[in-house]
């Protein structure tokens, strides 16, 4: 990863060979009958990380998390926390706490008693419990609601009680199962930042399970994209977005144009891709050597595609087409352009002026262009 400018040290323990991971999955497999939920996963998570497990429902991310909490046992492989194999440790003795998707707040207990619940079952002296509960209530700004029962507070407040309760015992590791799934969009965005703030304040390692890619990208230091029980890519959010390792990841994260083609020439870290009859080859930078004749997918984000009414002169790739559809989204506009042969390509333009000059409209002939480093060439 390229060194970022500035003086602040980059938090990247995964690049430091001297760092010991907090959690290690070693060839972990989990089967439910014939169904393989987790397929031979090896994964390291480091102290103070905010680690996101991202994938569609049924991809195994929740199973992975429940194995950490102790509600499922691996069919094969080992899970170590701080170098200790946790297989024989029951959930109630693990240094791990979980925030449940449904929050699982005890309906018969007050907010205060919910937060104190775990402390009362720990070795914390009785007289220190009230102070710790107060501290947690302050952390999530719920001091005024301590005497309420869960059904007497709002959804957002319940979410914060659940967070406070799972953090009260100061676990080595906090697991969050779709923590914001039940909140509406606006509240979810606010809460994401609050979550990051609390993670930084407490210094706890967070593992979050989510199916919402935006959420994963916002909060996480690293994101693991999962599918069908396998890890597809584990990387920082920016690298997941900019350099996906597969069509699956490129497609799952954000909006993308994917063009299938064949490598026609390869030289100097660049490839030329034949993608349609009678069209110029797409020229793209490729990190590894790719043999001629290989079938590849070229992936490019819509915001990296420029759109113009005149043919641009100095771009590596220029494709002509007609505007098929325009979607105005406020801050940006997306143009869906029909290329020769019927293929569609999307281009995104920021609306940085208040009044859009609609110089491009439906059925206009336009030129799409992008540099040779704007997209990535994917082998699978």
């Amino acid at each position: 990863m390229a060194q970022q400018p500035g003086t602040r040290p980059v938090f990247a323990p995964w690049n430091d060979p001297d760092q010991k991971p907090l959690i290690q999955f070693k060839n972990v497999t989990k089967r439910f009958g014939d169904f393989v939920a987790i397929d031979d996963i090896t994964l390291d998570i480091y102290r103070r990380e905010f680690f996101a497990l991202l994938g569609p429902s049924g991809c195994g991310k929740t199973t992975l998390m429940r194995m950490l909490a102790g509600f499922e046992t691996p069919s094969a492989g080992t899970i170590m926390v701080d170098g200790v194999d946790i297989a024989p440790i029951p959930p109630n003795r693990r240094p791990v706490n979980m925030m449940f998707q449904s929050y699982a707040l005890f309906p018969h207990l007050t907010v205060w008693d919910n937060i104190a619940f775990g402390l009362r079952r720990s070795d914390m002296p009785k007289d220190q419990i009230p102070a710790r509960v107060e501290e947690m209530l302050r952390l999530v700004r719920l001091e005024k609601f301590s005497k309420r029962k869960p059904h007497q507070i709002s959804g957002g407040q319940r979410q914060r009680v659940a967070l406070a309760r799972s953090l009260a015992k100061a676990p080595k590791l906090l697991l969050l199962d779709e923590p914001l799934g039940a909140l509406d969009k606006k509240l979810r965005q606010d809460t994401q930042f609050e979550l990051m703030d609390i993670q930084e304040k407490t210094g706890t390692t967070f593992v979050i399970v989510t199916h919402d890619q935006e959420e994963a990208m916002t909060v996480a230091s690293r994101v693991a994209v999962m599918d069908h029980g396998k890890m597809i890519q584990i990387d920082t959010p920016d690298r997941i977005y900019e350099t996906p390792n597969s069509v699956y990841v490129a497609d799952f994260i954000g909006d993308v144009n994917i063009i299938e083609g064949t490598v026609a020439e390869a030289a100097d870290g660049k490839v030329g891709i034949d993608w349609a009859e009678g069209q110029r080859k797409i020229v793209a930078a490729a990190s590894s050597d790719i043999a001629k004749g290989t079938r590849v997918h070229f992936a490019i984000r819509p915001e990296k595609v420029a759109i113009a009414t005149q043919e641009p002169a100095d771009r590596a790739n220029v494709i002509e087409g007609t505007v098929h559809d325009i979607a105005y989204l406020g801050n940006i506009s997306t143009y869906k352009v029909e290329l020769p042969g019927g293929r569609m390509m999307k281009a995104q333009v920021a609306n940085d002026r208040r009044i859009a000059r609609r110089e491009i409209t439906w059925d206009d002939k336009v030129w799409l262009s992008f540099t040779d480093t704007a997209g990535v060439v994917l082998l699978n």
Binding site: A104, H151, Q157
Partner: protein, 272 residues
């Protein structure tokens, strides 16, 4: 459902509830009849209540019945709750099908068969028939009702609550005691009430397994009623009906109030 309450609906409800309640109403009214002839009104009187209270045989039968009902429904609640927990939570184990079969079978079994089977068991075990055998029999058939009531609550119970308790350091038993039980308590209580009523009510099974010295109230009523209508039985019925009516109405008022309070709380929480 489409709310178009018509004359037809009103008539069928009126007639239906008249059918359900008129017989009991007549019973209650005629328990205050001065005449020994139960179908001829001869003025208001409470003398049958007085005679009932002076009737040693009825009082001792009532005492036996109450004792049996309290003990058997309490044991049945414990066993039935365990059984419900096993049915809903224990997952697969050998003989699970037989187990769930044995839970549901007594509910649909004709009482004469259950009674006969129990009696034959007690005889072959050499148990003396009496209050103890009645209690054993009542535990057995009422625990199944308890377990049906409790398991239908457990099925809708959010399992992550138990997991959260384990996650926060509870042992499985502690999690059951401090999280599951308080939450399913209403179902356990209604299971107990159901078992209690069924035990109070039971005639046929008691008839089979009771010994000569142990007579329950339904047995006493049954032998009296076989001879025809008697004003004393009317008085006794009135007392029993009033207890049940007061109990059921107050229970439904309490639950209505709780629901209303819950709704108000949720409304308040939303407005913040």
């Amino acid at each position: 459902m489409n709310r178009r309450f018509s004359w037809f609906n009103a008539t069928s409800l009126t007639l239906g509830f008249a059918f359900l309640y008129l017989p009991m109403l007549i019973l209650v009214i005629y328990s205050f009849n001065a005449s020994k002839l139960v179908t001829v009104w001869a003025g208001f009187s409470t003398k049958w209540y007085g005679e009932l209270l002076g009737n040693e045989a009825f009082l001792s039968a009532a005492w036996v019945t109450l004792k049996v009902a309290v003990i058997s429904s309490t044991v049945a609640t414990v066993l039935g709750t365990m059984a419900a927990y096993v049915l809903v939570r224990a997952g697969r184990f050998t003989g699970r099908t037989l187990f769930s079969g044995m839970i549901y079978a007594p509910i649909v079994m004709p009482e004469v068969i259950t009674g006969l089977a129990m009696l034959l068991l007690f005889i072959s075990l050499g148990l003396d028939r009496g209050v103890f055998t009645i209690i054993l029999a009542h535990i057995t058939f009422t625990m199944c009702f308890v377990s049906v009531v409790v398991s239908s609550r457990l099925v809708t119970f959010d399992r992550s609550l138990e997991e959260a308790a384990l996650d926060l350091g509870c042992t499985p038993f502690d999690a059951f005691k401090s999280v599951t039980l308080p939450i399913i308590a209403p179902a356990v209580i209604s299971g107990w009430l159901l078992a209690f009523t069924l035990s109070l009510d039971d005639l046929v099974i008691s008839q089979f397994v009771a010994g000569p010295s142990s007579t329950t109230l339904p047995m006493k009523i049954f032998s009296a009623v076989r001879l025809g209508v008697s004003p004393e039985i009317n008085a006794l019925s009135t007392i029993l009906i009033s207890i049940v009516t007061v109990g059921v109405i107050s229970a439904s008022l309490i639950s209505k109030r709780n629901i209303a309070r819950q709704r108000a709380d949720e409304q308040k929480a939303l407005q913040q």
